[in-house]
């Protein structure tokens, strides 16, 4: 069974920062994780676009206040 978008996003972020899976939840914000700066942010978003074969719109990029919102925009774009 393939992973859901939510599972993919959460595991991608946990793997990227080498943190345990339970440290990344939909409520997680960038300041919760050491090293989540603007460069890491771009790398995560582009890595997820590749992994999910889905591109975000420019407007989506400015609405990513937490991981849950990131999941939502990928879910929206993957069905759109």
């Amino acid at each position: 069974m393939s992973a859901t978008i939510s599972e993919t996003v959460l595991s991608h972020i946990a793997t990227y920062f080498s943190v345990s899976a339970d440290q990344v939840t939909p409520a997680t914000v960038a300041s919760d994780i050491e090293g989540w700066d603007s460069m890491a942010n771009a790398e995560i978003i582009l890595g997820l676009e590749d992994a999910l074969a889905c591109e975000l719109d420019p407007d989506d990029l400015f609405e990513l206040e937490n991981v849950g919102r990131l999941i939502e925009v990928f879910e929206k774009r993957s069905v759109g």
Binding site: M39, E43, L46, D59, L61, F62
Partner: protein, 171 residues
């Protein structure tokens, strides 16, 4: 110079070490031009770090070889722009350098065009870069390609020790 045998390719992480002499030479040129931009002792090591993970996702380094010797390189990064001025994904040229002996052969432009193809594949809305103050050749090169000056990036060293001393005197 004998016949050039130029090849441009996307660097693997293990290729970056071969760029160290060019990288250090580039920063020496920066410092000569503006007197403030210096490579830190571990600067090259920091620059290499993280490339393997980001390679071709959010970062590329294309190396220009002549007969298998690196003679230039360009580094591109995808960044997320400011929502305040309506930017989306930006293609940022972080470094471009060609060995002075190899200039006037169109290598910088070839490197740029190679990188631009990658930027476009990432659906960027703008390209950005910084030009070292005093690098008039660089400014002319980028202007000819269509870049326009937007901000001037300014830098001022802060001596925390002297600041602490100043506060003490004030007390």
């Amino acid at each position: 110079m004998s016949q050039l045998n130029i090849e441009i390719s996307l660097a693997e992480a293990t290729d970056l070490i071969r760029l160290q002499p060019l990288f250090e030479e580039m920063y020496a040129h920066f410092f000569a031009a503006n007197g403030v931009t210096e490579l830190s002792p571990n600067g090259f090591k920091h620059w290499q770090s993280g490339y393997e993970r980001a390679r071709n996702v959010s970062r590329t380094v294309y190396i220009c070889y002549d007969n298998n010797t690196p003679v230039g390189f360009i580094e591109g990064q995808i960044r997320i722009g400011s929502p305040v001025i309506g930017q989306g994904k930006l293609g940022h040229t972080a470094h471009l350098y060609v060995n002075p002996d190899y200039r006037r052969n169109g290598l910088a432009k070839k490197l740029y065009q190679t990188q631009q193809t990658w930027f476009i594949s990432k659906k960027i809305s703008y390209e950005t870069l910084d030009v070292v103050c005093g690098n008039n050749i660089g400014l002319a090169f980028w202007s000819a390609i269509g870049f326009k000056s937007s901000f001037i990036n300014m830098l001022k060293p802060v001596d925390l020790n002297s600041r602490a001393g100043a506060h003490k005197k004030e007390e």
